[in-house]
Each structure stands twice: as structure tokens, then as C-alpha cells.
């Protein structure tokens, strides 16, 4: 271990070394016990000067203790991310909004499609096939053009979906399949063909 290397250690302690130099030195630290002990003692001296609790455990021991604890299962239950850090919620706000959008658009498609075909003839509606994208559907009809009854039904359906989704705490199946049969009793989708 040369003085040059130890000087670099000293600079790293002060945050005055480049990232490249820091990486190079830490590659050496991993293989050099003396260098590691010097690193520890430099910090011990600093802690004592700063009136902080002095670090008495050598890094090698601390590392061994760390892995013992990890292998012993310590912290296994902890999946928390630090405050302020983005959480990886599998059903986050964005995903929820997207599902809600698709649900709303699909509801609109099912109820509005016949209205857009004069003569009142009801076409065989396949909600999945009809939906190009929520944006397309929004262009086809606005919420205001939907009857109050249908709006209430759509709201109720979406609320049901959100409730189930929050209880399950995971992505609830997109409700298109259910939507095809979500009609007042005796008024199934297939009946619309008549």
C-alpha cells in the first residue's frame, strides 16, 4: 500500500476525489486488509475529533456480521422504500386511472353504440372489438350525452370495480367480460339483436 493510495483514501473521506479514483481505490480496498484498516482508523479519528461515538468494529467484522444477519432472515419482512422514494405499487395511481378510463370508455361504448345508428337497430355488439382506444370513444360521445340512468349505472359499475380492486390490492381483471352481461335482468346483450 503506497502513500499515494492512502492519500487517495484521505481525499475520498473528504469527498475530494473523483469518482474514477474512488472506484479504483475501492477495488483495492476489497483485496487489501491494511488499506481497509487504515480507512477504518481514519474514520475513527475523525469521529473522535467530531465528538461522535467512535467506531470500534473493523469493517471486515461488520461485513461478516451483516451477512450473518441477512442469512438469518433479518429485514426479510421489510419491503418498504424510503420516504420520498417512488413506490412500486403494482396497482398505482396511473394504472388505476388507465383501468378506470378503459372501463368508462367501454361502458360508454356499450350503451351509446346503438344511439349512433339511426333506426334503432341494434347491432351485435362486441365491446372488445368495438373499442379502438378510450380516446376514440371519448370522441364518439361525451358524458353529457349519456342518459341519467346510464350514467348512474356506469358510476355504480365503476365504483363496484374500484371497491373490489382496493380490497384485492392488486390489478383487478379489466371488467370488459363482465360488462357484456351487465344489463338489467331480462335485457341481455344478445337480446339486443332482435
Amino acid at each position: 500500500m503506497t502513500d499515494k493510495v492512502k492519500e487517495a483514501l484521505s481525499a475520498i473521506m473528504d469527498g475530494e476525489a473523483s469518482e474514477l479514483e474512488t472506484r479504483r481505490i475501492f477495488d483495492q480496498i476489497a483485496q487489501d486488509d491494511d488499506l481497509r484498516e487504515t480507512w477504518d482508523r481514519f474514520h475513527l479519528a475523525r469521529a473522535a475529533m467530531a465528538d461522535e461515538p467512535v467506531d470500534s468494529t473493523a469493517s471486515a467484522e461488520a461485513i461478516a456480521s451483516l451477512w450473518d444477519a441477512v442469512d438469518g432472515g433479518a429485514g426479510e419482512e421489510s419491503t418498504e422504500t424510503p420516504e420520498g422514494a417512488p413506490r412500486r405499487n403494482p396497482f398505482g395511481l396511473r394504472t388505476g386511472a388507465a383501468v378506470l378510463g378503459v372501463a368508462a370508455a367501454t361502458v360508454l361504448a356499450v350503451w351509446l353504440y346503438p344511439v349512433r345508428h339511426p333506426g334503432g337497430m341494434r347491432l351485435p355488439v362486441d365491446p372488445v372489438a368495438q373499442v379502438d382506444s378510450p380516446a376514440t370513444l371519448v370522441q364518439q360521445a361525451t358524458w353529457e350525452s349519456v342518459s341519467a340512468e346510464d350514467r348512474a349505472r356506469a358510476r355504480e359499475y365503476m365504483l363496484q370495480h374500484l371497491r373490489r380492486q382496493s380490497m384485492a390490492n392488486r390489478a383487478h381483471p379489466i371488467p370488459i367480460a363482465k360488462l357484456a352481461t351487465y344489463r338489467p335482468q331480462g335485457q341481455a346483450v344478445r337480446n339486443d339483436l332482435q
Binding site: 492519500e7 468494529t57 444477519a69 429485514g75 418498504e80 420516504e83 422514494a85
Partner: protein, 206 residues
């Protein structure tokens, strides 16, 4: 970092080596008892290791680790508040500690033995600094006690930054020579007695 994220323990060892002392200094502002401090530091690193696969690099690794350590410290302080204090503290000392760290005042205190070890080590270091040549003493003092950057020290002492870097290292090396044998002896004592190094570290000073 990427290797550590994939579960490479040797890569995580390097992160541990690099940041352990900084994190310890941070946690030390909340927890004074050495054994508890080490536990909280270890807990923070374990949490970081477990959560590392989810770290997306939106912030610097140290910033992320720092947050984990702060949370671990706060949790420890909160838990300590429910325990019976192990060290008697007069109201004056308690108020002083409250003022020192604001909302997260220290709840744990060093034992008399720990305080003695630290004081004795500090005394040895002070003596080593006093024995340094003027240029080294000035430089290391500006760095360690005033927290100035190398550039600021270079301006004050009117010398190149490289010289500042070199002087600080030489000062540390000189201090290290004074404390090296003490630290080594304490660790040997610890190993011989079968006790953890953290327990025995100060025994050489008794």
C-alpha cells in the same frame, strides 16, 4: 451498484465499505449508545440490501441510503422512547440534548465507559495534532473542525489544492500512527477474550 442490485454480495460489500462510516456518523446524531448505534447502522444496510432490486436510480445511491438510515434512526428513537432509560440524566443534560438535535433528540446516552474511551481517544488525537508542524496542523484543523473544502483551504493558506490534499493526508497519517497501536491492541484483546470488538474497543484505555 448494478452488480449489487443483482445480488452480488461482494459488490454490496464495497458499497458497505464506502458508506458505512458516513451512515454511522449520521445515525450517531440520533443514537449515542455504541452497540445500539451499530445495530441501527446494520439494520439500515440490511433494509437497503433487501430493497436494492427496487432502487431505480432516480436519486443518488447515497441519498437513497441516507433516507433509509434516517428512517431506521427515527424508528429506533421512537422505540427507545417506550423503554425505560438505562442512563440517569438530569434535566439540564436532557434539555441540552433536546436543543442539539431538535425534534429527534438523543434518547440514548453513552455509558460512562464509552464516553471515557472516546474522551481518551480524543485526547490522544488532540495531542497528535498539537505535535504536528504548523502547516499540517492548520490545514487539518480547517478541514476537520471548520469543515472547509480543499479549495477553500487552498485559498486561505495560499497554496495549491494538491498541496492541501497532501498535507491533510500527512496530518492524518501522523495522527494514525499515534492511535494505530491502541486500536490494534484493543482489537487483539477483544479477540482473545472472545468478546465483540465493539465491546472491548476501549478497554486498552482503562
Amino acid at each position: 451498484m448494478r452488480r449489487a442490485q443483482k445480488g452480488d454480495r461482494r459488490a454490496f460489500d464495497l458499497l458497505f465499505l464506502r458508506y458505512r462510516h458516513k451512515i454511522r456518523g449520521l445515525v450517531g446524531r440520533f443514537v449515542r449508545d455504541t452497540a445500539e448505534l451499530d445495530d441501527v447502522v446494520q439494520e439500515a444496510f440490511i433494509k437497503a440490501y433487501r430493497a436494492l432490486p427496487n432502487f431505480r436510480g432516480d436519486s443518488a445511491f447515497y441519498t437513497w441510503l441516507y433516507r433509509i438510515a434516517i428512517n431506521a434512526s427515527k424508528n429506533h428513537v421512537a422505540a427507545s422512547g417506550r423503554r425505560t432509560p438505562t442512563v440517569d440524566m438530569d434535566i439540564g443534560t436532557a434539555e441540552q440534548l433536546e436543543q442539539t438535535d431538535g425534534a429527534y433528540a438523543l434518547r440514548d446516552s453513552e455509558s460512562p465507559e464509552q464516553a471515557l474511551r472516546r474522551d481518551e481517544l480524543a485526547a490522544a488525537i488532540r495531542q497528535a495534532i498539537a505535535d504536528l508542524p504548523d502547516d499540517l496542523r492548520t490545514t487539518v484543523t480547517l478541514r476537520e473542525f471548520d469543515g472547509l473544502s480543499y479549495r477553500q483551504i487552498a485559498e486561505i493558506t495560499d497554496c495549491p489544492v494538491g498541496t492541501v490534499r497532501s498535507r491533510i493526508f500527512r496530518a492524518r497519517e501522523s495522527i494514525d500512527e499515534r492511535i494505530r497501536f491502541l486500536v490494534g491492541r484493543r482489537r487483539q484483546d477483544g479477540a482473545a477474550s472472545g468478546m465483540g470488538a465493539s465491546t472491548v474497543v476501549g478497554d486498552g484505555y482503562k
